[in-house]
Point group: C2
Chain length 400, copies 2
Amino acid sequence: MISWDALFSERAKTMKASAIRELLKLVTQPDIISFGGGLPDPHFFPIHQLQECVHDVLETNSAIALQYGATEGVPALRSWLAEDARSKGLDVTVENVVVTASSQQALDLIAKVMLDPGDIALVEGPSYLGALQAFAAFQGQAIAIDMDEQGIRTDILEERIKAIRSGTRPIKFIYAVPSFQNPAGITMSIERRRQLLDISQRYNIPIVEDHPYHALRYEGTRVPSIASLDADGHVIYLETFSKILSPGFRLGWVVAPEPFTRKLALAKQATDLCSSPFNQLIVLEFCKRGYLEPHVAHIRREYAKKRDAMLNAMDEFFPKEVKWTRPEGGMFLWVELPKGIDTTEMLRDALEVKVAYVGGTGFYPDGRGENCMRLNFSYSTPEINREGIRRLSECIRKRL
Amino acid sequence: MISWDALFSERAKTMKASAIRELLKLVTQPDIISFGGGLPDPHFFPIHQLQECVHDVLETNSAIALQYGATEGVPALRSWLAEDARSKGLDVTVENVVVTASSQQALDLIAKVMLDPGDIALVEGPSYLGALQAFAAFQGQAIAIDMDEQGIRTDILEERIKAIRSGTRPIKFIYAVPSFQNPAGITMSIERRRQLLDISQRYNIPIVEDHPYHALRYEGTRVPSIASLDADGHVIYLETFSKILSPGFRLGWVVAPEPFTRKLALAKQATDLCSSPFNQLIVLEFCKRGYLEPHVAHIRREYAKKRDAMLNAMDEFFPKEVKWTRPEGGMFLWVELPKGIDTTEMLRDALEVKVAYVGGTGFYPDGRGENCMRLNFSYSTPEINREGIRRLSECIRKRL
């Protein structure tokens, strides 16, 4: 008999079943109110427009759609994405764009081409769970920098950079989700974005700007992306169709300086040769027909109602000892319970009353966040969001 | 300015633009006769049946198709694939199956969970270029074992294993493409498969059996897969829809012992969360409607003609000093020119007369294969295959 454990790599030995994974399983139980995953509401998938796009792609372009494609992405989609990036103020050409299997693959490839074991990635505290997993899978060392209501604390960041630079391991990048952050729901202010860029330039550390939710703003005014403020090629910018159209296509894209996209494409080639040209052409068709903007406007209106229902229910039901963020957009908010309440333990009570969420510790590389949790408001209806918060408030009261 | 080179990981520093990559670019020039890629003939893509499947998936199952899915794959597809594996003599359940973004991702994930820097993968010489790239991307060390017309030389293999085991780095697996091998076109005999399995059992080294072409047999009798001969869980078995349906969906699957599939799924989660549920449901629908077998029977008949046209042209045009394999199936054959002719240099002559192929050195981890080349016969028509071989014969004569 093979002893598999003895054959696994050092990086594989650290891989453990995670909260997202277990929660995607829970979500398939129909009577659970899930605040867990980062799922779009399937009721709003634009099925008829997609039917039209798929039909025409297969009818007119099957030899490209169903064949192997270029590793960097289908040229026509890359051109469209480059044009889209330029319209958002990024000074780029098609050579700066690589299509990926959603942002998760972009994070995997970034880690693959940048992180040797022990190399440091600076992240927001809390940070996106899937990014922490991607970096850990290459034995990178994520170090969390606290946030306040303006986003990452750039003063603490700079102090940490100075301290780390006297050590032996290099800092390879700063990872941030500046708009409607996952998990905290915080939006980084323009001043903070400029300070972050300034630090990046002074210390020559690139910024990985993960921007999946930026189009989902429900109130307040737009803040420019860090990439659009960057004149010197310090930003690796990530977007995805998962939150604005459908995660089922597994399509995202990276916009970055050419020395980086060239290396990223080489890494992608050894990883999966290319992303589905079929899905790329469908999504391109959807965009070219002008369906994306009205669709996003529609889900923006609907998700705003869901967010409001959750926030109103929290105002109404949550005990006064509980704190939470009020996101201006996105899909998540972050709840802080009084110290001493362990959200991982409390999840058992919550599941008994059929409510799921993700406990806070998974969002910190250092075990913090024990008394915190991330709630998603985009998946369920406003009414169910309200009911879920009511039930959750009872779980919290029991533990106070 | 950022110095990107200084930020890349050790594994990324070894990544270089490859033959497959450059050749996928050439293929897009319409007047090139391409013997380069491993491309199916797009004329045979079953467009109308796919239209039907896509339409019904979107109409009846969009909430699953367009949403995030389980990392291991859509449950209904995994069940179908487990049943398919059982029908091929593998003693497995759904827990042994993980859906991947085609076999290239399976190879990437296998390397990710098994290879620490310097760890050894034993491969056939020559071996599949994409596998060598996937292993190198994790700083694995591939060592090629010669083949004869029966497949891998198990006598040499055992000697090498004994010699390596006295060294410091472990052997993590043996990678083989036993049926219609890529690139050599050789099919491993049943005796050799049994010997390979015996070595695997005696030395406790798993076999990665890559089986993408097995359904594409044009003559001779079927040889059972190594996995179907294995009673003790020593085989990690890979299949893909790329060669039998369409590479454009980017879907393959792994069948392996559960301790391995569990770890593979964890690695996949950090890599891309899941493969496209949309594409998974389309392919499942195609299979469940009974469209796959008649489709494969159709392309088998057509590819047989393409192979015959190429082999007949080689008999007719190639100088007598040239040797080549006569594959019973698959997509490739392997040509050995007299020593001293460098196929990488000769490619320039070939491209002048508008013929592309892949030179032999990329298929060896150790720089051998200089006088060899891989020819693909599945992409072009029989007539074009003949014409391409005629032109290639002139390039060869010039160098003799």
